[in-house]
């Protein structure tokens, strides 16, 4: 059985394709013979190019050790952790509820349907 996805990942993380991808960020490069209507294989390949680009940036920044590239189990685990952590970091915190003084809470509160006539 041909492990297409495994080979696709190997190809996407080669220095050659990573260099092409890095250049494409500043200038327009056509990766494929067709310029539109990408196949699912091409879309998957672009996703992996992008993922490995981010991973290499993280290694350069010292966010993760380069041993992460040793196998796909490490790579997937790091991507999963990073996606969850980033989500956690960017989720806006709910405004904290102001704690009312006990005296205030116990006070009877009236809600007037009509304004009180003075």
């Amino acid at each position: 059985m041909l492990d297409v996805e495994g080979l696709l990942r190997k190809l996407a993380k080669t220095e050659r394709w990573q260099t092409i991808f890095a250049f494409s960020r500043d200038s327009k490069i056509n990766f494929f013979k067709n310029q539109y209507k990408y196949t699912s294989l091409q879309i998957l390949f672009l996703n992996y190019l992008s993922l490995y680009y981010v991973l290499n940036m993280d290694i350069s920044a010292g966010d993760v050790d380069k041993m992460v590239l040793d196998n796909t189990t490490y790579e997937d685990a790091y991507f999963w952790y990073k996606s969850k952590k980033d989500k956690k970091d960017t989720t806006p915190k709910k405004p904290e509820k102001k704690v009312q003084a006990v005296d205030d809470v116990n006070k009877t509160q009236w809600v007037f349907k009509n304004p009180i006539k003075e």
Partner: protein, 216 residues
């Protein structure tokens, strides 16, 4: 000792050639949308289907689906699931188990990812790595078993027919300097050897990935 090391080196070289060929082939499939490969000294090519070929496939699919639907001897997936359940094989339970395993895998992946990011202890890294591999293997076992159990369903059989019909339309053979269609008709393909058809279908799966949708 020297012989062993020589043999190992030859094996490594052969493996690397095999790998390089596969990677080169895949690169060609991605960039050019076609895959050229030799079988027994003959060059074959599988190309991405055109709009016209996809239309032909859809027409074949509808015709085949209606034909199969009339045949009461071909069970639908839902019928097979029901029959298996009565015989004590619960496919829904297998899917449920798979979802539980997926959640466990994601939890282990998070912990492993955190250890990798924070330069964790090598021993802990290995524990989580092995746990993930075990979970993935169990998931794979379930998927293979499920596919095998449902392989006789109308849906699975239809997929195989449609996939082989599409392969027939997009496979070419090199004759001299020209590429010619390997099979002119579906019957020509059916008359070919299983070995040749299987080899071509395996390679074609790279180019034809997700090109067909057999969901009725």
């Amino acid at each position: 000792m020297e012989d062993q090391s020589k043999e190992k080196k030859i094996q490594e070289t052969l493996e690397s050639i095999k790998e390089n060929i596969n990677i080169d082939m895949l690169e060609e499939a991605i960039v050019d949308n076609e895959l050229v490969f030799p079988i027994d000294g003959v060059e074959y090519k599988v190309i991405k289907p055109s709009w016209g070929e996809k239309t032909q496939v859809q027409e074949f699919q509808v015709k085949k689906y209606l034909e199969m639907l009339k045949d009461k001897n071909i069970p639908l997936e839902q019928d097979l699931r029901k029959t298996y359940k009565e015989r004590g094989i619960d496919i829904d339970e297998m899917e449920k188990r798979n979802r539980v395993l997926e959640k466990e895998k994601q939890d282990a992946q998070y912990k492993l990812g955190e250890l990798l990011a924070k330069s964790g202890i090598e021993q802990d890294i290995q524990i989580f790595k092995n746990q993930i591999i075990d979970l993935q293997n169990e998931q794979l076992e379930i998927l293979v078993r499920k596919a095998s159990l449902l392989s006789l369903s109308l849906e699975s059989q239809l997929f195989n027919y449609v996939y082989s019909y599409l392969t027939m339309l997009v496979t070419y053979k090199k004759e001299g300097e020209n590429w010619v269609r390997l099979w002119k008709t579906y019957d020509d393909m059916k008359a070919a050897t299983d070995e040749l058809v299987n080899k071509i279908a395996a390679k074609a799966s790279v180019v034809l990935r997700d090109e067909i949708n057999t969901k009725a």
